[in-house]
Symmetry: C2
Protein backbone atom coordinates (compact mmCIF):
# COMPACT_ATOMS: atom_id res chain seq x y z
CA UNK A 1 0.00 0.00 0.00
CA UNK A 2 1.20 3.48 -0.80
CA UNK A 3 0.96 6.43 1.54
CA UNK A 4 -2.14 7.61 -0.36
CA UNK A 5 -3.83 4.17 -0.13
CA UNK A 6 -3.28 4.15 3.63
CA UNK A 7 -4.74 7.65 3.99
CA UNK A 8 -7.81 6.64 1.97
CA UNK A 9 -8.30 3.51 4.06
CA UNK A 10 -8.06 5.56 7.27
CA UNK A 11 -10.57 8.11 5.98
CA UNK A 12 -12.99 5.38 4.86
CA UNK A 13 -12.90 3.77 8.31
CA UNK A 14 -13.41 7.20 9.85
CA UNK A 15 -16.40 7.91 7.59
CA UNK A 16 -18.05 4.65 8.63
CA UNK A 17 -17.63 5.45 12.33
CA UNK A 18 -18.85 9.02 11.76
CA UNK A 19 -22.00 7.74 10.04
CA UNK A 20 -22.73 5.61 13.10
CA UNK A 21 -22.27 8.59 15.40
CA UNK A 22 -24.55 10.72 13.23
CA UNK A 23 -27.30 8.08 13.48
CA UNK A 24 -26.93 7.99 17.25
CA UNK A 25 -27.19 11.77 17.54
CA UNK A 26 -30.20 11.82 15.17
CA UNK A 27 -31.91 9.42 17.56
CA UNK A 28 -31.06 11.42 20.69
CA UNK A 29 -31.71 14.79 19.01
CA UNK A 30 -28.33 16.04 20.20
CA UNK A 31 -26.86 18.99 18.31
CA UNK A 32 -23.17 18.23 17.82
CA UNK A 33 -20.69 20.92 16.79
CA UNK A 34 -17.02 20.36 15.95
CA UNK A 35 -14.92 23.40 16.91
CA UNK A 36 -11.67 23.84 15.00
CA UNK A 37 -9.00 26.55 15.21
CA UNK A 38 -5.34 27.31 15.77
CA UNK A 39 -4.03 26.77 19.29
CA UNK A 40 -4.99 29.75 21.42
CA UNK A 41 -7.82 31.16 19.32
CA UNK A 42 -10.13 30.97 22.29
CA UNK A 43 -12.18 27.79 21.80
CA UNK A 44 -12.28 26.82 25.47
CA UNK A 45 -12.90 30.36 26.70
CA UNK A 46 -15.81 30.75 24.26
CA UNK A 47 -17.23 27.43 25.49
CA UNK A 48 -16.90 28.49 29.14
CA UNK A 49 -18.91 31.64 28.48
CA UNK A 50 -21.43 29.72 26.35
CA UNK A 51 -21.95 27.09 29.03
CA UNK A 52 -22.41 29.76 31.71
CA UNK A 53 -25.44 31.13 29.83
CA UNK A 54 -26.99 27.99 28.34
CA UNK A 55 -26.57 25.41 31.10
CA UNK A 56 -29.62 26.70 32.98
CA UNK A 57 -31.93 25.73 30.13
CA UNK A 58 -30.08 23.05 28.13
CA UNK A 59 -28.14 19.88 28.87
CA UNK A 60 -24.58 20.34 27.59
CA UNK A 61 -21.36 18.34 27.43
CA UNK A 62 -17.86 18.57 26.01
CA UNK A 63 -15.29 16.34 24.34
CA UNK A 64 -11.86 17.95 24.39
CA UNK A 65 -9.13 16.87 21.98
CA UNK A 66 -5.50 17.58 22.81
CA UNK A 67 -2.03 16.14 22.37
CA UNK A 68 -1.37 16.47 26.10
CA UNK A 69 -2.90 17.70 29.40
CA UNK A 70 -6.41 17.31 30.87
CA UNK A 71 -6.68 21.05 31.21
CA UNK A 72 -9.54 21.84 28.83
CA UNK A 73 -11.87 19.11 30.12
CA UNK A 74 -11.16 20.33 33.65
CA UNK A 75 -12.10 23.87 32.65
CA UNK A 76 -15.48 22.68 31.30
CA UNK A 77 -16.15 20.43 34.32
CA UNK A 78 -15.54 23.46 36.54
CA UNK A 79 -18.37 25.14 34.61
CA UNK A 80 -20.64 22.34 35.84
CA UNK A 81 -21.06 20.17 32.74
CA UNK A 82 -19.76 16.67 31.94
CA UNK A 83 -16.61 16.78 29.84
CA UNK A 84 -14.05 14.22 28.76
CA UNK A 85 -10.51 14.77 27.55
CA UNK A 86 -9.36 12.73 24.56
CA UNK A 87 -5.56 12.61 24.32
CA UNK A 88 -4.71 11.83 20.73
CA UNK A 89 -1.29 10.27 21.29
CA UNK A 90 0.49 12.80 19.13
CA UNK A 91 -2.11 12.90 16.37
CA UNK A 92 -3.01 16.36 15.10
CA UNK A 93 -6.79 15.77 14.98
CA UNK A 94 -9.61 13.81 16.58
CA UNK A 95 -11.12 10.90 14.66
CA UNK A 96 -14.59 9.39 14.83
CA UNK A 97 -13.44 6.21 16.53
CA UNK A 98 -11.89 8.20 19.37
CA UNK A 99 -15.24 9.96 19.78
CA UNK A 100 -17.08 6.59 19.77
CA UNK A 101 -14.81 5.18 22.44
CA UNK A 102 -15.03 8.31 24.60
CA UNK A 103 -18.83 8.24 24.47
CA UNK A 104 -18.87 4.53 25.35
CA UNK A 105 -16.45 5.08 28.24
CA UNK A 106 -18.72 7.80 29.62
CA UNK A 107 -21.61 5.30 29.71
CA UNK A 108 -24.18 7.60 28.16
CA UNK A 109 -23.38 10.77 30.08
CA UNK A 110 -22.29 12.49 26.83
CA UNK A 111 -24.59 10.72 24.36
CA UNK A 112 -28.00 12.07 25.30
CA UNK A 113 -27.66 15.84 25.59
CA UNK A 114 -29.12 18.90 23.96
CA UNK A 115 -25.72 20.09 22.70
CA UNK A 116 -22.39 18.26 22.60
CA UNK A 117 -19.40 20.51 21.97
CA UNK A 118 -16.43 18.73 20.42
CA UNK A 119 -13.31 20.86 20.75
CA UNK A 120 -10.79 19.51 18.27
CA UNK A 121 -6.99 19.57 18.63
CA UNK A 122 -5.63 23.09 18.07
CA UNK A 123 -4.84 22.91 14.38
CA UNK A 124 -6.24 24.57 11.24
CA UNK A 125 -5.27 21.74 8.88
CA UNK A 126 -5.54 18.13 10.06
CA UNK A 127 -9.03 18.20 11.64
CA UNK A 128 -10.54 19.38 8.34
CA UNK A 129 -10.65 15.90 6.76
CA UNK A 130 -12.10 13.97 9.70
CA UNK A 131 -15.87 13.82 10.02
CA UNK A 132 -16.83 13.26 13.67
CA UNK A 133 -20.56 12.79 13.07
CA UNK A 134 -21.16 16.46 13.86
CA UNK A 135 -24.05 18.55 12.56
CA UNK A 136 -21.54 21.14 11.41
CA UNK A 137 -18.00 22.40 11.82
CA UNK A 138 -17.22 25.77 13.39
CA UNK A 139 -13.90 27.47 12.69
CA UNK A 140 -12.57 30.13 15.04
CA UNK A 141 -10.11 32.87 14.09
CA UNK A 142 -8.88 35.37 16.65
CA UNK A 143 -8.18 38.94 15.56
CA UNK A 144 -4.59 38.59 16.79
CA UNK A 145 -3.84 35.96 14.12
CA UNK A 146 -4.00 38.30 11.14
CA UNK A 147 -6.56 38.72 8.37
CA UNK A 148 -4.74 36.55 5.82
CA UNK A 149 -5.73 33.25 7.41
CA UNK A 150 -8.91 32.21 5.53
CA UNK A 151 -7.13 32.21 2.15
CA UNK A 152 -4.07 30.55 3.70
CA UNK A 153 -6.18 27.73 5.16
CA UNK A 154 -8.99 27.56 2.58
CA UNK A 155 -10.08 23.97 3.27
CA UNK A 156 -11.35 24.55 6.79
CA UNK A 157 -12.88 27.95 6.04
CA UNK A 158 -14.75 26.34 3.09
CA UNK A 159 -15.99 23.36 5.09
CA UNK A 160 -17.05 25.17 8.24
CA UNK A 161 -20.69 26.25 8.25
CA UNK A 162 -19.84 28.89 10.83
CA UNK A 163 -16.81 31.16 11.21
CA UNK A 164 -16.39 32.81 14.60
CA UNK A 165 -14.03 35.79 14.72
CA UNK A 166 -12.90 35.88 18.37
CA UNK A 167 -11.20 38.36 20.72
CA UNK A 168 -12.75 41.40 19.01
CA UNK A 169 -12.06 43.36 22.23
CA UNK A 170 -8.42 43.38 21.05
CA UNK A 171 -9.19 45.11 17.73
CA UNK A 172 -7.92 48.51 18.95
CA UNK A 173 -4.47 47.02 19.67
CA UNK A 174 -3.77 44.87 16.61
CA UNK A 175 -3.69 45.42 12.87
CA UNK A 176 -6.61 43.31 11.62
CA UNK A 177 -8.77 44.01 8.58
CA UNK A 178 -12.19 42.66 9.53
CA UNK A 179 -13.66 43.60 6.13
CA UNK A 180 -10.98 41.52 4.39
CA UNK A 181 -11.86 38.50 6.55
CA UNK A 182 -15.57 38.92 5.81
CA UNK A 183 -14.81 38.97 2.07
CA UNK A 184 -12.55 35.91 2.20
CA UNK A 185 -15.09 33.93 4.21
CA UNK A 186 -17.91 34.99 1.84
CA UNK A 187 -15.80 33.71 -1.06
CA UNK A 188 -14.87 30.41 0.59
CA UNK A 189 -18.21 29.69 2.27
CA UNK A 190 -20.93 31.61 0.45
CA UNK A 191 -23.68 29.85 2.45
CA UNK A 192 -21.81 30.05 5.74
CA UNK A 193 -22.47 32.22 8.76
CA UNK A 194 -19.96 34.60 10.31
CA UNK A 195 -20.20 35.91 13.86
CA UNK A 196 -17.81 38.25 15.65
CA UNK A 197 -17.46 37.88 19.39
CA UNK A 198 -15.50 38.77 22.46
CA UNK A 199 -15.90 36.23 25.24
CA UNK A 200 -14.18 38.79 27.48
CA UNK A 201 -16.43 41.81 26.86
CA UNK A 202 -19.52 39.82 25.85
CA UNK A 203 -19.81 41.62 22.50
CA UNK A 204 -21.49 39.47 19.86
CA UNK A 205 -22.31 36.68 22.31
CA UNK A 206 -26.07 37.01 21.72
CA UNK A 207 -25.70 36.29 18.00
CA UNK A 208 -23.46 33.30 18.77
CA UNK A 209 -25.85 31.83 21.36
CA UNK A 210 -28.87 32.32 19.05
CA UNK A 211 -27.03 30.54 16.28
CA UNK A 212 -26.62 27.49 18.55
CA UNK A 213 -30.15 27.47 19.93
CA UNK A 214 -31.65 28.03 16.46
CA UNK A 215 -29.61 25.13 15.07
CA UNK A 216 -30.81 22.92 17.93
CA UNK A 217 -34.46 23.94 17.34
CA UNK A 218 -34.10 23.22 13.61
CA UNK A 219 -32.55 19.82 14.27
CA UNK A 220 -35.38 18.91 16.63
CA UNK A 221 -37.90 20.07 14.03
CA UNK A 222 -36.17 18.07 11.29
CA UNK A 223 -35.35 21.22 9.30
CA UNK A 224 -31.92 21.19 7.67
CA UNK A 225 -30.30 24.52 8.57
CA UNK A 226 -29.28 26.59 5.54
CA UNK A 227 -25.55 26.71 5.07
CA UNK A 228 -25.11 24.27 7.89
CA UNK A 229 -24.08 20.97 6.39
CA UNK A 230 -21.21 18.73 7.33
CA UNK B 1 2.33 -2.04 5.06
CA UNK B 2 0.51 -0.62 8.05
CA UNK B 3 -0.06 3.04 8.69
CA UNK B 4 2.89 3.01 11.12
CA UNK B 5 5.20 1.32 8.57
CA UNK B 6 4.34 3.98 6.00
CA UNK B 7 5.03 6.77 8.49
CA UNK B 8 8.40 5.24 9.35
CA UNK B 9 9.33 4.89 5.69
CA UNK B 10 8.39 8.53 5.07
CA UNK B 11 10.44 9.70 8.05
CA UNK B 12 13.47 7.60 6.98
CA UNK B 13 13.38 9.12 3.48
CA UNK B 14 13.06 12.55 5.07
CA UNK B 15 16.02 11.94 7.36
CA UNK B 16 18.22 10.96 4.39
CA UNK B 17 17.29 14.12 2.51
CA UNK B 18 17.82 16.24 5.62
CA UNK B 19 21.30 14.77 6.11
CA UNK B 20 22.16 15.82 2.56
CA UNK B 21 20.90 19.34 3.19
CA UNK B 22 22.89 19.55 6.42
CA UNK B 23 26.09 18.61 4.53
CA UNK B 24 25.39 21.27 1.92
CA UNK B 25 24.87 23.93 4.56
CA UNK B 26 28.00 22.83 6.44
CA UNK B 27 29.95 23.42 3.22
CA UNK B 28 28.42 26.83 2.56
CA UNK B 29 28.55 27.89 6.22
CA UNK B 30 24.87 28.88 6.06
CA UNK B 31 23.02 29.08 9.36
CA UNK B 32 19.62 27.48 8.81
CA UNK B 33 16.76 27.95 11.24
CA UNK B 34 13.37 26.24 11.07
CA UNK B 35 10.63 28.47 12.49
CA UNK B 36 7.54 26.70 13.80
CA UNK B 37 4.38 28.06 15.42
CA UNK B 38 0.60 28.24 15.28
CA UNK B 39 -0.88 30.24 12.43
CA UNK B 40 -0.73 33.91 13.30
CA UNK B 41 1.95 33.83 15.99
CA UNK B 42 3.97 36.37 14.07
CA UNK B 43 6.66 34.38 12.23
CA UNK B 44 6.60 36.48 9.08
CA UNK B 45 6.38 39.79 10.93
CA UNK B 46 9.36 38.82 13.11
CA UNK B 47 11.31 37.88 9.96
CA UNK B 48 10.45 41.20 8.28
CA UNK B 49 11.85 43.13 11.24
CA UNK B 50 14.87 40.82 11.45
CA UNK B 51 15.65 41.22 7.78
CA UNK B 52 15.33 45.02 8.01
CA UNK B 53 18.18 45.10 10.55
CA UNK B 54 20.45 42.30 9.36
CA UNK B 55 20.30 42.61 5.58
CA UNK B 56 22.85 45.43 5.55
CA UNK B 57 25.57 43.16 6.93
CA UNK B 58 24.49 39.60 6.11
CA UNK B 59 23.14 37.73 3.09
CA UNK B 60 19.70 36.36 3.95
CA UNK B 61 16.98 34.31 2.30
CA UNK B 62 13.66 32.70 3.11
CA UNK B 63 11.74 29.53 2.33
CA UNK B 64 8.07 29.91 3.18
CA UNK B 65 5.83 26.89 3.75
CA UNK B 66 2.07 27.22 3.39
CA UNK B 67 -0.99 25.29 2.30
CA UNK B 68 -2.03 28.14 0.02
CA UNK B 69 -1.08 31.68 -1.15
CA UNK B 70 2.29 33.21 -2.09
CA UNK B 71 1.77 35.93 0.47
CA UNK B 72 4.61 35.22 2.89
CA UNK B 73 7.32 34.90 0.23
CA UNK B 74 6.07 38.16 -1.30
CA UNK B 75 6.37 39.86 2.09
CA UNK B 76 10.02 38.79 2.40
CA UNK B 77 10.86 39.71 -1.19
CA UNK B 78 9.44 43.16 -0.48
CA UNK B 79 12.05 43.38 2.28
CA UNK B 80 14.71 42.95 -0.41
CA UNK B 81 15.83 39.35 0.08
CA UNK B 82 15.35 36.25 -2.07
CA UNK B 83 12.45 34.14 -0.89
CA UNK B 84 10.55 31.19 -2.28
CA UNK B 85 7.10 29.94 -1.40
CA UNK B 86 6.65 26.18 -1.01
CA UNK B 87 2.99 25.16 -1.29
CA UNK B 88 2.64 21.83 0.46
CA UNK B 89 -0.43 20.58 -1.37
CA UNK B 90 -2.49 20.24 1.77
CA UNK B 91 0.29 18.78 3.91
CA UNK B 92 0.57 20.24 7.42
CA UNK B 93 4.40 20.53 7.40
CA UNK B 94 7.40 21.02 5.14
CA UNK B 95 9.63 18.03 4.39
CA UNK B 96 13.30 17.88 3.47
CA UNK B 97 12.66 16.87 -0.12
CA UNK B 98 10.49 19.93 -0.68
CA UNK B 99 13.36 22.04 0.66
CA UNK B 100 15.85 20.24 -1.66
CA UNK B 101 13.65 20.86 -4.69
CA UNK B 102 13.05 24.51 -3.81
CA UNK B 103 16.79 25.13 -3.42
CA UNK B 104 17.50 23.40 -6.75
CA UNK B 105 14.76 25.40 -8.50
CA UNK B 106 16.30 28.64 -7.19
CA UNK B 107 19.60 27.67 -8.84
CA UNK B 108 21.81 28.51 -5.88
CA UNK B 109 20.22 31.81 -4.87
CA UNK B 110 19.11 30.31 -1.54
CA UNK B 111 21.92 27.80 -0.98
CA UNK B 112 24.90 30.05 -0.30
CA UNK B 113 23.78 32.60 2.25
CA UNK B 114 24.73 33.66 5.73
CA UNK B 115 21.30 32.81 7.15
CA UNK B 116 18.43 30.89 5.56
CA UNK B 117 15.12 31.26 7.38
CA UNK B 118 12.72 28.38 6.83
CA UNK B 119 9.23 29.37 7.90
CA UNK B 120 7.26 26.17 8.33
CA UNK B 121 3.52 25.71 7.79
CA UNK B 122 1.53 27.29 10.64
CA UNK B 123 1.13 24.28 12.91
CA UNK B 124 2.44 23.31 16.35
CA UNK B 125 2.28 19.55 15.75
CA UNK B 126 3.14 18.14 12.32
CA UNK B 127 6.40 20.05 11.62
CA UNK B 128 7.94 18.67 14.83
CA UNK B 129 8.89 15.29 13.33
CA UNK B 130 10.43 16.53 10.07
CA UNK B 131 14.12 17.42 10.08
CA UNK B 132 14.82 19.95 7.31
CA UNK B 133 18.60 19.96 7.70
CA UNK B 134 18.37 23.02 9.94
CA UNK B 135 20.88 23.98 12.63
CA UNK B 136 18.03 24.27 15.09
CA UNK B 137 14.29 24.68 15.42
CA UNK B 138 12.72 27.85 16.80
CA UNK B 139 9.21 27.77 18.23
CA UNK B 140 7.17 30.96 18.52
CA UNK B 141 4.30 31.52 20.96
CA UNK B 142 2.37 34.78 20.99
CA UNK B 143 1.07 36.11 24.29
CA UNK B 144 -2.46 36.09 22.90
CA UNK B 145 -2.43 32.27 22.66
CA UNK B 146 -2.46 31.60 26.40
CA UNK B 147 0.18 30.33 28.77
CA UNK B 148 -0.92 26.67 28.71
CA UNK B 149 0.55 25.94 25.29
CA UNK B 150 4.03 24.52 26.06
CA UNK B 151 2.60 21.67 28.16
CA UNK B 152 -0.20 21.14 25.62
CA UNK B 153 2.30 20.81 22.74
CA UNK B 154 5.30 19.36 24.58
CA UNK B 155 7.03 17.80 21.57
CA UNK B 156 7.83 21.02 19.77
CA UNK B 157 8.70 22.94 22.93
CA UNK B 158 11.12 20.10 23.86
CA UNK B 159 12.75 19.92 20.45
CA UNK B 160 13.13 23.63 19.77
CA UNK B 161 16.47 25.06 20.88
CA UNK B 162 14.88 28.51 21.05
CA UNK B 163 11.44 29.63 22.21
CA UNK B 164 10.39 33.12 21.13
CA UNK B 165 7.49 34.64 23.04
CA UNK B 166 6.04 37.18 20.58
CA UNK B 167 3.68 40.17 20.70
CA UNK B 168 4.72 41.17 24.22
CA UNK B 169 3.39 44.67 23.46
CA UNK B 170 -0.08 43.10 23.94
CA UNK B 171 0.65 41.89 27.51
CA UNK B 172 -1.38 44.72 29.10
CA UNK B 173 -4.50 43.61 27.22
CA UNK B 174 -4.51 39.83 27.58
CA UNK B 175 -4.36 37.37 30.47
CA UNK B 176 -0.97 35.68 30.00
CA UNK B 177 1.26 34.32 32.74
CA UNK B 178 4.78 34.84 31.43
CA UNK B 179 6.35 33.22 34.51
CA UNK B 180 4.31 30.05 33.89
CA UNK B 181 5.56 29.90 30.31
CA UNK B 182 9.17 30.36 31.43
CA UNK B 183 8.75 27.48 33.90
CA UNK B 184 7.14 25.15 31.35
CA UNK B 185 9.83 25.88 28.77
CA UNK B 186 12.58 25.37 31.37
CA UNK B 187 11.05 21.96 32.17
CA UNK B 188 10.66 20.87 28.56
CA UNK B 189 13.91 22.34 27.19
CA UNK B 190 16.34 22.78 30.08
CA UNK B 191 19.18 23.69 27.68
CA UNK B 192 17.01 25.87 25.47
CA UNK B 193 16.96 29.63 25.13
CA UNK B 194 13.90 31.80 25.63
CA UNK B 195 13.55 35.31 24.26
CA UNK B 196 10.60 37.66 24.59
CA UNK B 197 9.99 40.12 21.79
CA UNK B 198 7.63 42.58 20.22
CA UNK B 199 8.27 43.07 16.52
CA UNK B 200 5.88 46.04 16.77
CA UNK B 201 7.53 47.97 19.63
CA UNK B 202 11.03 46.57 19.11
CA UNK B 203 11.26 45.30 22.69
CA UNK B 204 13.58 42.31 23.01
CA UNK B 205 14.71 42.49 19.40
CA UNK B 206 18.37 43.02 20.36
CA UNK B 207 18.49 39.72 22.26
CA UNK B 208 16.82 37.92 19.35
CA UNK B 209 19.20 39.37 16.76
CA UNK B 210 22.26 38.59 18.92
CA UNK B 211 21.07 35.03 19.28
CA UNK B 212 21.07 34.67 15.49
CA UNK B 213 24.40 36.39 14.86
CA UNK B 214 26.06 34.47 17.72
CA UNK B 215 24.79 31.18 16.31
CA UNK B 216 26.14 32.13 12.88
CA UNK B 217 29.53 33.07 14.36
CA UNK B 218 29.68 29.79 16.27
CA UNK B 219 28.78 27.78 13.19
CA UNK B 220 31.50 29.50 11.20
CA UNK B 221 33.98 28.83 14.03
CA UNK B 222 32.93 25.19 14.21
CA UNK B 223 31.69 25.55 17.79
CA UNK B 224 28.48 23.65 18.54
CA UNK B 225 26.17 26.15 20.25
CA UNK B 226 25.03 25.04 23.73
CA UNK B 227 21.41 23.99 23.77
CA UNK B 228 21.20 24.42 20.07
CA UNK B 229 20.96 20.97 18.57
CA UNK B 230 18.57 19.69 15.95
Amino acid sequence: MTEIDVKQKVLAANAAAAAGLRETFARTGTLVVNLISSPGSGKTTLLEKTVAVLKGSLSLGGLEGDIATERDAERLRKMGIPARQILTGGSCHLDARQVERALADEGGRLSNLDILFIENVGNLICPTSYDLGEDFKIVLLSVTEGEDKPFKYPAIFSKAAVTVVTKIDLLPYVPFDLAAVREQVATLAPDGRLVEVSATSGAGMDAWLSLLTDALAKKRAGVPAAGVAS
